[in-house]
Symmetry: C3
Subunit: 369 residues, 3 copies
């Protein structure tokens, strides 16, 4: 009955952000409290009108109302600031003087991070509802902390360990011997086998972790599968996107380094190793036994062949095809991969040469002799 009737609904103007059917909501909070959360500097409204104001939620500059918090992170949206009706705006020091008079501000050198933390205060992440659902199946000798939430139709094998506060959502399958740390979030329809997960690991729905790698030998009567005898190791704070797949190692482990973020539909081959805080965007694939240093970014739909090394902080562009090692800090794109600058120079060269074929590309000139 009362759905959609929370505090936000009572403020008259309200953005469509954080539909109360889907998101919990806390508050209201004062601007000073929010500045504290964000680690930013609180600036009262120029006209003094905001001194006792409290805020009930967040919204974009275009639609937020007086009781809502908005933010400006991107220079090209700066003009929206002049017309916003938001009561509080988070922004970088450079924009502090453009804040309208009715509007309080939180000034931060990292406004996106500040905004993220404030949004989280209004809409906290769901915590585990302790208990194992009556329909879940748990194997022998498994140790599941009593604070965990295990959803309907979950299947947990023998000898599994799951730490405090972890959520395992419906229909997820945890194979024999798997170890999962604290405060992990496993979405629905995940399959995990032959793996260890450290703390605060998130697996989005449909991720498949630990199945056999793609390895076979040519035998007299066709291919023969080579036993895949390694594991998958997901370190602290790793996130794996929806329907992504990570194969276990063949003779060593597949390792995803601490803090790394993998998007949806990503493929990671056997024995592959990612360093700390790598980013792999959707539909990218990394073939077997390739090693990434720390802070490597692999953009969407990029592909890396197997058995190569990618240096720390290298950036692999979208749809890039990487066939050999990439140096630390390098920016590459294209298929085969080359430095960004070279790629775009090639594009320009080819456009130029194609534009006037009649007046002589080099080769055409030769033919006229």
């Amino acid at each position: 009955m009362a759905r959609g009737q929370g505090p936000a609904a009572q403020t008259g103007r309200m953005s469509t952000v954080a539909d109360t059917r889907f998101f919990t909501r806390q508050g209201p909070f004062s601007g000073k409290k929010l500045a504290e959360v964000a680690g930013g500097e609180f600036i009262p409204a120029g006209d003094g009108s905001a001194d006792s104001r409290e805020y009930v939620g967040i919204g974009p500059l275009q639609s937020a109302g007086l009781a809502e918090v908005s933010f400006l992170d991107n220079r090209r949206y700066a003009s929206l600031l002049d017309e916003t009706k938001a009561g509080l705006v988070i922004l970088a020091p450079a924009f502090a003087k453009r804040v309208p008079a009715h509007c309080a501000a939180i000034v931060s050198s990292t406004p996106y991070l500040a905004w993220s933390r404030i949004a989280r205060v209004f809409h906290p992440a769901r915590v585990a509802r302790a208990g194992v659902h009556a329909t879940a199946i748990v194997g022998l000798n498994s140790e599941i902390d009593s604070s965990c939430e295990v959803g309907p139709f979950v299947v947990i094998g023998d000898g599994v360990k799951i730490g405090k506060g972890t959520i395992v959502s419906s229909h997820t399958v945890i194979g024999d011997g798997v170890s999962i740390g604290e405060d992990c979030r496993l979405g629905s329809q995940v399959v995990v086998s032959h793996a260890t997960l450290a703390d605060r690991v998130t697996l989005f729905p449909g991720a498949k972790i630990g199945q056999d790698g793609f390895g076979f030998a040519v035998g007299p009567e066709g291919f023969e599968s080579v036993p895949q005898l390694g594991r998958v190791i997901l370190e602290h704070d790793v996130e794996i996107g929806a329907n992504s797949t990570i194969d276990r190692g063949s003779v060593q482990d597949t390792v995803i380094g601490a803090g790394s973020r993998l998007d949806n539909l990503v493929q990671i081959g056997h024995n592959t190793r990612l360093g700390k805080c790598c980013i792999v965007v959707s539909q990218a694939g990394i073939s077997g036994s390739t090693e990434l240093g720390d802070y490597v970014t692999v953009a969407a739909q990029a592909g890396l062949i197997g058995h190569i090394k990618i240096g720390t902080k290298a950036r692999i562009g979208a749809q890039c095809g990487v066939m050999s090692d990439v140096e630390a800090g390098a920016d590459v794109i294209g298929s085969p991969a080359m430095p960004f600058r070279e790629f775009f120079r090639n594009v320009a060269t080819l456009r130029r040469l194609s534009r006037k074929p009649e007046s002589g590309g080099g080769d055409a000139g030769t033919e006229e002799k």
Copy 2:
């Protein structure tokens, strides 16, 4: 026992289409009745033999028998018409005179559509078998129309609404507050959260709709997830392919416009908006906050970066990498995207320049100085 023993099996000659283990079968139907269904013109067989004939199913020109209906849609298969044993053929006016004497015809200016409708009459789509399976779990305050079919091991959250005639197949998960319209078809192992589905929406098996978008800020100790507070809106008649993923918005909604069709393994980022009747072919990906107009086609494995606009009726070729806005009606391909004509001119230029390196590309000529 009686499997495979329906009317079609009794006609002697029978194509392998519509194996009776997998497809229901209705009929037989007269040619006039089928012409009516198809909205085409019925032409009796030249030799008068088909006047009382009835048809039991469909088949390709090569294998259909006298009691079956076939069709010709593609000029390059026209020679098959001369030799077909089919009793009734659907075709465009241009081919009407080539129909063999034993064969009746349905002439239509849209023969593929006509064929589709006739195939559907013989093999109607499955309708909902009203009822919630005993093993399904339904949350509090949910309103599921009594005509719906809810399969085994389905998990439906609190406050969910599902309209008339909708089928929710086994193991599918519907999150709290989700609203689903009438005559929708949700395959097995679908996960839907933070979303509203209009009428006649189809989600194929394994589709994941509404999980968090890929958004994080750089914090002092690694990446911090930015709360994703928007929704996914699937308008009327949308179809989403198997194992595809659609992330919910961060501060606005992810929207798939009415009538759009997404194939398998497609990725749609947060805040992305597709207009009406867009087509996105398998393994294509559209990054966050990009907007597509109506009737846009994105071919297989194409990728679009975030925050760009694609105009109405634009066509993005296979494997295309789109890094900037595309005008309405444009045909682009390549990575980076360029007009089709330019792309193939580039291919030709490069082939020409590479063919005779010894006789002097421009640069080689320079080196000889």
Copy 3:
């Protein structure tokens, strides 16, 4: 309690391969027995020390101990052989003389295959645990051999047949009328409908087989789905990777030939036909009605358009975009596809032409006139 306390744990030095939480372990075995399994020639250790030695497991050259078996398959790792502590090494005849004195050897002309078979002897594949789990749902008139293992929350439709020794893992869905052969392995959360599977077929977790192909006609009010009335035929020994998708045919069948191996996140369109022993690497896609001969390799992220033919033993490179027929035995790469040699010549040409734009690509030279 006794987990991790098997024979390997008692040998002191032990590699991390085949974690006993995840893998069963058999043995120990003598070197001669293993040579027999591998079909290779046994060579005793040069110093005679290995005559009565038995082996408990396998490991890489770097970390294997005296009671473990290792192998050398790749010339560039040959130097590891000199320093290995392994007690037995599998290798090609060319390396037989480099084996350290403490070390026995198995010499084989196919060392990778030999290694695979020996690894399998130590760590045999799991066999079916006969029985249908109490939570599984089985339809009417289904014939499931009593030796099959059917896991928790499996849903099997009406008229399904499953042969001896097949494993159907948790949450998997088998649609009405599906036929599955002997010794198949279906992972968790697989969906199979409108399909027949021969013997020894493996489907990894999340694979979706038999859903509607992507076919629609343009109707007066938008797209209309064309009934998809074919099947999926998976022949003997086919393997399909995690979260891959194979659509059923529209008017003919989608066929995957005997012995073919498809990796994760692969897409196969309707009516597509693969010959015997094809390899399709992860994230590759093959569009509708395309035909592959036998022994075709399609590398990662390659895409093939519909209605083309790929000849026997052709090799399609990674990220290749194939727009037309490919001859038997051809090696192609690039988008659009071209012979390997041509592709890399193009890359070199373009690099050369771009390097010194100031000293005159052909076109620039022309402009100076």
